[in-house]
Amino acid sequence: MAKYLLLKHYRGAPAAVNDVPMDRWTPEEISAHMQYMHDFAARLEETGEFVDGQALAPEGTFVRYDGEGRPPVTDGPFAETKDLIAGWMVIDVDSYERAIELAGDLSAAPGAGGKPIHEWLEVRPFLTAPPTITE
């Protein structure tokens, strides 16, 4: 088993095929989308592949240390061009192929007109602990 992070971007990913913003969908289309996401997570729980899923607020701030005795420096909210994470799902699957398959399913979530969004999701493998057997 290997863990993968499926990353959804507010900004920074290539444009989706069906990229009408959500406030321009009908309320029914929004409901259908929510239902799809919910069912997707539920299905992964059933197959024993779901680990975690979280959504993030769009506002974020960069922070860095600014030396002894000084408060940290903050920068933000981000400029419009900045890559912005919307949320993630962590899955634990048998193969890279399975991770790609699931990300493809997730990207098929319906959007405007009830048609798949074809949204670009980023798939990132977790680095793991070293194996016990090394030779």
Binding site: M22, D23, R24, T26, E29, M34, A57, E59
Partner: protein, 381 residues
């Protein structure tokens, strides 16, 4: 076996151990062990005196735990002082435990965790699940909290207001995991109300009961949020409402108004309306005025603007909103609502979309996004 009934004995048993000379942190661990043991043993072999059983087992656990360490001599002194077995003493230190667990030296998160464990009798695992953190993290939080209050004298009088804030936080966390925190908060507030006669304790209990009564109606089958005006009032829990109203009326009659009583009064006025259209908004505005006087909170004035919009029209609501800081949480949502009622659909749709961007949780974000979508669809038609 009724687990809630079992847990309701927790503060009493813990208080007895502390009075016998056990330090709070060790006594609390011992009581947890005894609760776990009770869950295991009682179904097959229920004791005649549950509290006495818990005291005996917890005390033994406490002695076992202290046996190995350097406090041996002190333990032997304690054994000498151990009262003869028999009915547990009637002294109830429940209130003292509430004060200790909500001690001002604790952070809110620590006070909440400690209260749920030491007063509520929940296990660390249950509390961790409810707050979606790893069990080891919650265990650390609780043991740090215990260390923080280790120097606090147990018989010191505490501040009811700090306890109420902790219980309010627990209630507001709602429901996640297998522990119903809202129901647990009500149980703990009820237990507190039995231990101390205080109108704000009654006010908070009434507030919780009145909000809890609407719980089933607040969520649609698909998990989406149903706003107050659109809820099926037939699904409100009338028994819970009746109890909340009765408790509130008795509290208000004592003429020592506080913010929880005022909030409960607003909830009671909503509960009282057979339909959303029959809501007594004029009285609700008056209660918001009281609340603003008591708390001086901008959030209260924001909610007041909604009530003014209902009582005196959208224009009046927008005027009430005008003086408030737009960065207040939910400011855009309130503005969107009032602009729609004022007939300005374009502004409303834009504000709803903006509000969705700033929503603090997913159901609220989905709800606001749907509102924006609804208005945009209406305009493009």
């Amino acid at each position: 076996m009724n687990e809630v009934l079992l847990r309701s004995l927790t503060p009493n048993v813990l208080g007895i151990l502390v009075r016998r000379g056990a330090d709070f942190a060790a006594a609390e661990d011992a009581v947890q062990d005894a609760l776990v043991e009770a869950v295991r043993v009682w179904p097959a072999d229920p004791p005649r005196d549950p509290k006495g059983w818990l005291v005996t087992v917890a005390w033994r656990r406490f002695l076992d735990a202290t046996r190995a360490d350097a406090a041996r001599r002190r333990r032997e002194d304690l054994v000498d002082e151990e009262p003869a077995p028999g009915p547990a003493p009637a002294v109830d230190d429940t209130l003292q435990l509430y004060f200790l667990c909500a001690h001002p030296s604790l952070t809110p998160a620590s006070a909440v965790a400690l209260t749920l464990r030491a007063v509520g009798g929940l296990t660390t695992r249950q509390i961790a699940q409810a707050y979606l953190v790893p069990e080891a993290t919650m265990a650390q939080r609780i043991s740090r909290a215990k260390r923080t209050v280790s120097g606090v004298r147990f018989d010191q009088p505490g501040d009811v207001a700090t306890v109420l804030r902790v219980l309010y936080l627990v209630f507001n966390e709602g429901y996640s995991g297998d522990v119903d925190l809202a129901a647990e908060a009500i149980r703990l507030t009820r237990q507190l109300a039995a231990a101390i006669d205080h109108p704000e304790v009654a006010g908070l209990l009434a507030l919780m009961l009145l909000h809890h009564a609407r719980r089933a109606a607040r969520t649609a089958p698909d998990g989406s949020l149903v706003p107050l005006a659109e809820q099926d009032r037939g699904r409100w829990d009338t028994q819970s409402i009746a109890e909340g109203v009765e408790i509130l009326q008795a509290a208000l009659a004592r003429d020592r108004l506080g913010e929880f009583q005022a909030q409960a009064a607003i909830a009671a006025l909503h509960a009282d309306a057979p339909t959303a259209g029959e809501t007594d908004w004029v009285q609700i505005v008056e209660w918001y005025d009281e609340l603003a006087r008591l708390t001086d909170s901008p959030v209260v004035r924001l909610n007041r603007a909604v009530a003014v919009g209902e009582a005196d029209g959208a224009r009046a609501g927008l005027a009430a909103l005008a003086g408030l800081d737009p960065s207040l949480p939910r400011h855009a949502a309130v503005a969107a609502y009032l602009h729609e009622r004022d007939g300005d659909l374009a502004t409303s749709a834009r504000l709803y979309a903006e509000a969705a961007q700033h929503a603090p949780n997913l159901p609220e974000r989905d709800y606001l996004m749907r509102q924006a979508a609804r208005l945009n669809a209406r305009q493009s038609r």
